[in-house]
Symmetry: C2
Subunit: 211 residues, 2 copies
DNA sequence: ACAAAAGTGTTGCTGTTACACCCATGG
DNA sequence: CCATGGGTGTAACAGCAACACTTTTGT
């Protein structure tokens, strides 16, 4: 390949959602060689008349049945051999959504139990999970509201935090902190569970953790 | 311009250094139109046989008289009109170094007193200063050691923190925290100042703040 | 001796941790 | 009445904020 100043650029869109106290990611099964039947982060090659952000929106429009209005870039990957065929520069974006009905050749995976992934896509994910967790713990950009657009019980939310922190949290201390930080509102509604019904809460729009 | 999947990509390299308790950035004066005599973040167009990281190293080699071994990407910018001539995708990297002798057409600027900058370069800087400050306050990747490879007094270090936080810090509390977090070592050396000489310290290699 | 900057401790406040029992519901 | 999960308070501890005087050097 001749030296040139033109490059192929792609966006990769890592789509995350909360599911039963865990974080899942939506991956796509690759149907062609190379890496046939491996899983990939969905994406799209960038044309020279669109921005990365427009490209991300287009990918989301194909995969998510409602509008996305928030996402963020994590990193750009440019190794010469990340694609065996030609050098493609990949910029990864993270999107948070609700876990929605499934699509052809797509599946939600727990981020702790990823399938065999093509190219450097597992690496790309790994390099961004710590940052994702940091954003969750600090509720940056109201990311918790993106994970929980619906109402939820504090037990569900606690399970999610325990997943992110990978450790048990005391129930009383957790509730104290949540109420103290003023990030949730009472709905008065209850949800039926196997035992005593739990109260449902929603996230405040402007709520931020201290710091 | 015809639609194509080939893009021009450039690296921009924001070079920071500590100077008398402030953060300075090394900018380059543009000598040609457009934006003649405006200031730019130094950079370089990427060829299809080099990675972004290699490109960053090449830029640094031209501008800094010693080896750089640490830098990090901040964000990729892809607006269609960020360059009036053609669409160029820019990935910005941050480098921390020591403030060294000056180069032709280059100058160190206080990050709070930037000159007239070309293109979207001021925007690119702004979008990354908060993150830079966060890394400093948490000493991520031993970034303080990169800012202070030499020895320093606690008064100097405190001035730097006050600059980053944009507020006064109590001297006693500051020293308590620094010693508590175990990130500096005594050298026993003193430096002459206008009053009582201050002790010089160095950063520990493995020292991290709590969190 | 005085000017200039470095060095040093204590107290109150605030947030975090650790810990165990009662309550509401369904079967 | 029992099984299941939800809801609640208090005490010890740690980190953080506020506060002023003494020490070392150069002139």
């Amino acid at each position: 390949m001749a030296k040139s100043y033109y490059n192929v650029v792609e966006t990769l869109v890592s789509i995350f959602a909360e599911d039963k106290g865990t974080i899942k990611i939506l991956l796509q099964r690759k149907k062609t060689e190379p890496y046939r039947n491996y899983w990939i982060i969905p994406g799209k090659v960038l044309s020279n008349d669109e921005t990365l952000e427009v490209s991300v929106k287009k990918v989301c429009d194909k995969l998510i049945p409602f509008d996305i209005n928030d996402f963020y870039e994590t990193k750009t990957f440019s190794s010469l051999d990340r694609d065996p065929v030609e050098r493609i520069i990949a910029t990864n974006f993270n999107v948070i959504t609700s876990k929605v009905t499934q699509y052809e050749n797509m599946q939600w995976f727990d981020i702790n139990a990823l399938p065999k992934m093509a190219y450097d896509h597992e690496q790309i994910l790994f390099e961004n999970l710590d940052e994702l967790k940091r954003r969750i713990l600090h509720n940056e950009n109201n990311i918790l509201l993106q994970f929980f657009p619906h109402d939820f019980t504090l037990t569900e939310l606690q399970a999610f935090f325990e997943f992110v922190l990978d450790k048990k949290i005391d129930r009383r201390n957790f509730r104290k902190k949540i109420f103290n930080d003023n990030i949730v509102s009472h709905t008065g509604e209850k949800i039926k569970t196997a035992g005593r019904p739990g109260e449902l809460f929603v996230f405040n729009k402007g709520g931020y953790f201290n710091e």
